[in-house]
């Protein structure tokens, strides 16, 4: 029992919060503003609770497992959710069903926690579904907008399709090896054609969630149609969680088939970086722009994963931590502008610096970090991914990745140029930022600067592997 409480603590805390919210909602309910404050405090407590009373071990015959690394990964996701609750305060306050929104989001987060902790394909599948279905409902939350419903519909249909293929893959694996336990699978894998087929089916489900090319098509529509809070949840938190479990599965379960998945990861990484970049180049809408650029970022994460080493794990976790700060900061700025001025086009950002210096600097910092320019944390993140990838000795791969970094530099700088250099006779008015959104932006900015400079963070992650 004691084991159960300490090992499953993160999941239990989240479940507790969900129920608490449910009771508050069922009772008298609170004013939206008070409610939001309560939720923010609860999420902060949830994040802080992640640092205490942690243990390593397994439960339910290995169905559920946790290590200090997994706890760290869950903390990163909790931090991201807390930041989302701060950054999109504007939108939450206007929403009629805010508690429900957070219940859904926390359910999805719960799914992700189980996903990262899963030690069995069955658990893995259930958790993946739990982390997806609430998000589809969240995508529908701009209730009066048709595009929002469309996004939800597209998401649920596409992910149902992907789940179908995943289940097929799982059943093939069971057929070929007679087990679905992560601990037992590696001894049974030998690289027979049937197993390769199963690997690719499984892989496609991961690739779908991570929007890896060519499984990325749903991304743009869903990201654009959903409310900004959902888009950022999808592109940061979901992707982070799936990247963690993806890496763990490849490294631990499919280690015997390493030679095969290395090539798979390599070609898809190249395709993802190139296609993501080419599309991001043409986008005018800031949400679509961030969506496609996040596809390109996933290409880099794959590069780190391809290294199949301790360094690979460290660099990916480190990069995702930075990515949480950078991407959420960019979305946060876009959301503040969209909420107050209703503008989402990059052209509307011209001359933003004249009226909104704070937002402009945060946006610049975030985009510099996403582009990987020193001394922001993003530079170190990309660099460690490159170094990890380079350890396999495929120089062509590294060269392509480095060239893609330059291409991405171009479009990130294009936005910064609009903000700082382009003259605009009618720039956006001075935008009043919600205090909590301002706090969130400051936390992100501090994270972007500090995570790169404080070298012990990287060491800390490395020691957990």
């Amino acid at each position: 029992m004691n084991d159960f409480l300490t090992l499953m603590k993160p999941e239990l805390v989240i479940t507790g919060i969900i129920f608490l919210l449910l009771f508050i909602k069922l009772g008298k309910g609170l004013k939206n503003e008070t409610m939001l404050l309560v939720i923010q405090v609860l999420l902060l407590l949830n994040f802080l609770a992640g640092f205490f009373f942690n243990a390593e071990g397994t439960l339910f015959d290995g169905m559920y497992l946790t290590t200090n690394m997994i706890v760290l990964q869950k903390n990163i996701l909790s931090l991201g959710v807390y930041l989302i609750s701060l950054l999109f305060a504007d939108w939450f306050k206007k929403s009629e069903h805010m508690p429900e929104f957070f219940m859904l989001m926390l359910s999805a987060l719960l799914g992700m926690f189980f996903l990262i902790s899963s030690g069995n394909l069955l658990m893995f599948f259930l958790a993946l579904e739990l982390s997806t279905i609430p998000v589809a409902a969240m995508a529908n939350f701009d209730l009066d907008k048709k595009r929002s419903s469309e996004a939800a519909m597209k998401m649920i249909l596409s992910s149902a399709f992907s789940s179908g293929i995943l289940l097929f893959g799982i059943s093939l694996i069971y057929g070929a090896t007679g087990t679905i336990s992560f601990a037992e699978l590696p001894q049974q894998l030998n690289g027979s054609p049937l197993q390769i087929l199963a690997l690719i089916f499984l892989f496609s489900a991961f690739a779908f969630k991570l929007s890896i090319v060519p499984f990325h098509l749903w991304t743009a529509d869903v990201y654009e149609g959903s409310p900004m809070a959902v888009t950022s949840f999808l592109s940061v938190i979901s992707k982070g969680a799936v990247a963690f479990i993806f890496m763990a599965t490849l490294y631990k379960v499919f280690q015997p088939m390493h030679a095969i998945w290395y090539n798979l990861v390599m070609i898809l990484s190249i395709a993802t970086m190139i296609i993501g970049n080419l599309f991001a180049l043409r986008q005018q809408n800031i949400k679509r722009f961030l969506a496609f650029s996040s596809i390109a970022q996933v290409g880099f994460i794959l590069l780190g994963i391809s290294s199949n080493s301790i360094q690979g794990t460290t660099s990916v976790v480190y990069f995702i931590l930075i990515y949480v700060f950078s991407n959420l900061a960019a979305f946060g700025v876009a959301a503040a502008i969209a909420a107050k001025a209703g503008r989402e086009n990059i052209d509307d950002y011209k001359g933003l610096y004249q009226t909104n210096p704070f937002l402009s600097w945060v946006l610049a910092l975030a985009l510099f970090s996403l582009a990987g320019i020193p001394p922001t944390a993003g530079f170190f993140g990309k660099l460690f991914l490159l170094t990890a990838g380079a350890s396999k000795g495929s120089y062509l791969f590294i060269i392509i990745a480095a060239l893609n970094m330059i291409i991405s530099l171009y479009y990130y700088l294009r936005v910064i140029r609009s903000v700082f250099m382009d003259k605009n006779d009618e720039p956006l008015d001075k935008i009043k930022i919600e205090p909590s959104a301002k706090l969130g932006l400051m936390i992100c900015a501090a994270g972007i600067v500090l995570v790169g400079l404080l070298s012990w963070i990287y060491d800390y992650i490395q020691n957990l592997v």
Binding site: E150, M153, K154, L157, S158, F161, S162, I165, P193, I196, L197, I200, F201, F203, S204, F208, P214, F215, L217, W218, D221, I260, N263, L264, L278, Q311, I373, P374, P375, L386, T387, A390, S391, G393, Y395, I398, I399, A402, L403, M405, I406, L409, Y410, M421, K423, S455, Y458, D459
Partner: protein, 644 residues
């Protein structure tokens, strides 16, 4: 022993200036920012001189060899055993020399800008940027770790970007800073990959260990680097060549030089600091830092350095002969002189008498910093006075700008290699090194030195003689004490720096190198130089039509050089016509016709069904599903049948 705190303060003081002026400058130090920045740098300069004195005369030498000291090393990030990123300070002859050069030139520019930028709206920002640049450059020269140098290398790039684009409301300045940033970023990718290759094989990022590993054939790191090969060239040579590409980008070597002339859009003192005396020699410094590896382990990479340097020197000199914007002439002459430094390294060998090229290159770097900064600052005074960069607006200014005239003349004599000015000595050593080791490069260098004298005096006569001055009314004179003092100090440096026995202090292996003076050898270059000067005098001293006639008689060549050999056009052609047409358009076509078409064709079957629920959603999800399925099947086929 060296005092690490003092040395660390040398870069940290300008950084403090940057932070202070950058954050509080506009509010609190509106008028005093120049004085603050200059004072901080003055302290840095004194510390740098103190450090260099201590190193060269007190503790640097052990048994007659200058040591590589590491007085400060802070491990910033430990990757694994042996591989770590450190922030440290390395003290050896070249870094001690560079500390002095960077701080001194930067100090001169700081002082000069007090007058030149007076009244500018963003005065504090300007000094903040200067501080950032000085910090980055100083951090670069003392880096003890190849990764540390890369970080500062990027910072130098960023601060140069900021300074070139300082007049950000001028479209040409914005275009220029973008161009500089993009071109050098491309080169930096080479540098980064080079670093990865070298450190991967040697298993370290620390300069001293890396050089030690890659220069001794018995180590495992050397063996793996020499054995691994790609297209028939060893990984070691690739690594070094890629690092050199990074250096060539920053140092504006052919064919990556196209950003330098455009960079002249920045304020003139900035051109003097960054694009003449300090930043552009970073590439030379980088090659010099890794020189033992180049010279001992990879003669091929070293000869690449030599030929690229020589070609750059010649091409830039030719182009400089036809330009009419005085800052552009100086920009091309910078490129040409850096070419000299590069090929001097390229023809050098490691150690002893054969290491003359290394010493000569560093010597030229030192003297060049003096006279090139002087030329730019002088040109700044001229531009300040006449409000134009074009030669045709100038002429006869010697009566109006007497101090500028004399100091500019000294700088021209120095760069033309006329004895006893500084450039003569360093250039002689370079030519001697080339003569002994590579005749082809020697002849290129000799022709270039004649051309140098010609275009410099073309510039000099066009500014100060030629036609009568058309100066309109109210003028402030030469621009006050703040602008004249640096000119005079630098002129003294340009006149006497050549008498320093440089080989006693800086040589490839740290031992004392005696540089003899060969009278017979000097006849040819000096004669050529004087000939260049006299031709320039004959053509440009008075207003006449000789230059036009001359240009007409050589019209093809003249046009080609006037248009800088069409190199910019070639780049535009390659990017716009070839890359866009051959890659961009077909990719768009495939995207539009084949990919979409395929998806459409396969999706058509399901489309009929979708008609019913079309009102509800766009009808694309089926296509996504088809696409998904095709991808899965495609990958499965690929990996099961072809890629086993």
């Amino acid at each position: 022993m060296p005092n690490a705190t003092y040395i660390a303060l040398i870069p940290l003081l300008p950084l403090a200036g940057f932070l202070m002026l950058g954050i509080f400058g506009r509010k609190y130090f509106k008028n005093t920012s120049g004085i603050i920045g200059t004072t901080l740098l003055l302290v840095s300069t004194v510390l740098a001189l103190y450090t260099a004195y201590g190193y060269f005369f007190e503790y640097g030498k052990v048994d007659g060899i200058y040591q590589k000291l590491v007085p400060l090393k802070y491990t910033w990030l430990q990757f694994s055993e042996g591989v770590s990123i450190d922030m440290g300070i390395i003290l050896d002859p070249i870094s001690a020399m560079m500390l002095v050069v960077v701080t001194f030139i930067s100090l001169m520019v700081h002082i000069y800008s007090l007058g030149y930028m007076k009244g500018d709206e963003r005065f504090p920002v300007y000094y903040a940027f200067l501080g950032l640049f000085t910090f980055s450059m100083l951090g670069l020269v003392v880096s003890s770790n190849i990764f540390q140098i890369y970080i500062f290398w990027e910072l130098v790039g960023v601060s140069s970007f900021l300074l070139i684009g300082y007049y950000y409301d001028k479209p040409s300045a914005v275009a220029a800073c973008k161009k500089a940033f993009i071109v050098t970023r491309f080169a930096d990718v080479g540098f980064l990959i080079g670093i990865l290759i070298l450190s991967f094989h040697s298993g370290t990022l620390d300069f001293n260990t890396l050089i030690a590993t890659l220069t001794s054939p018995e180590t495992a790191g050397y063996k793996s680097a020499a054995a691994a090969s790609f297209i028939g060239v060893s990984a070691l040579t690739w690594g070094l060549a890629l690092v050199f590409i990074g250096g060539a980008g920053k140092s504006a070597m052919f064919p990556l030089h196209i950003w330098l002339p455009d960079a002249m859009e920045g304020p003139t003192p900035v051109s003097a600091l960054i694009h003449a005396a300090t930043m552009v020699v970073a590439g030379v410094f980088l090659v010099a830092r890794l020189f033992p590896v180049f010279a001992i382990s990879s003669p091929n990479a070293l000869s690449l350095v030599g030929y690229v340097g020589a070609i750059s020197a010649l091409i830039a000199a030719l182009i400089a002969c036809t330009q009419t914007d005085i800052k552009r002439v100086l920009a091309y002459s910078t490129m040409s002189q850096i070419g000299y430094m590069m090929f001097a390294l390229g023809v050098s060998k490691y150690g002893g008498e054969d290491g003359l090229g290394f010493t000569a290159s560093m010597f030229h770097l030192f003297t060049h910093a003096m006279f090139k900064a002087l030329l730019f600052l002088g040109a700044g005074a001229v531009i300040h006075y006449i409000h134009s960069n074009e030669m045709k607006d100038m002429g006869g200014l010697r009566k109006y700008l007497p101090i500028t005239h004399i100091t500019f003349l000294i700088a021209c004599l120095a760069i033309a290699g006329v004895p006893p000015f500084a450039g003569f000595f360093s250039k002689e050593e370079i030519l001697l090194a080339a003569y002994e080791h590579n005749p082809t490069i020697y002849w290129i260098a000799l022709i270039t030195s004649g051309l140098t004298a010609f275009y410099m005096f073309r510039l000099y006569f066009n500014i100060f003689w030629n036609k009568e001055a058309h100066v309109h009314g109210e003028h402030k004179g030469e621009g006050g004490f703040a602008m004249m003092m640096p000119l005079v100090l630098l002129a003294v440096g340009a006149a006497v720096a050549g008498f320093i026995p440089f080989g006693h202090f800086v040589s490839s292996d740290g031992k004392r190198l005696e540089t003899a003076f060969h009278l017979q050898f000097s006849i040819a270059p000096v004669a050529l130089g004087l000939a260049g000067i006299f031709i320039a005098m004959w053509m440009y001293k008075t207003e006449n039509n000789k230059p036009d006639k001359f240009a007409a008689s050589l019209s093809g060549l003249y046009k080609a050089t006037y248009h800088k050999f069409y190199i910019d056009e070639i780049y535009t052609f390659i990017t716009k016509k070839i890359i866009f047409n051959l890659i961009g358009r077909p990719a768009a076509w495939i995207d539009k016709n084949i990919v979409d078409g395929l998806v459409n064709a396969t999706g058509n079957g399901t489309k009929d069904i979708s008609e019913i629920i079309k009102g509800f959603q766009s009808g694309k999800v089926q296509q996504y599903a088809i696409y998904f399925l095709v991808s899965v099947i495609g990958l499965a086929l690929l990996f099961i049948y072809w890629w086993k």
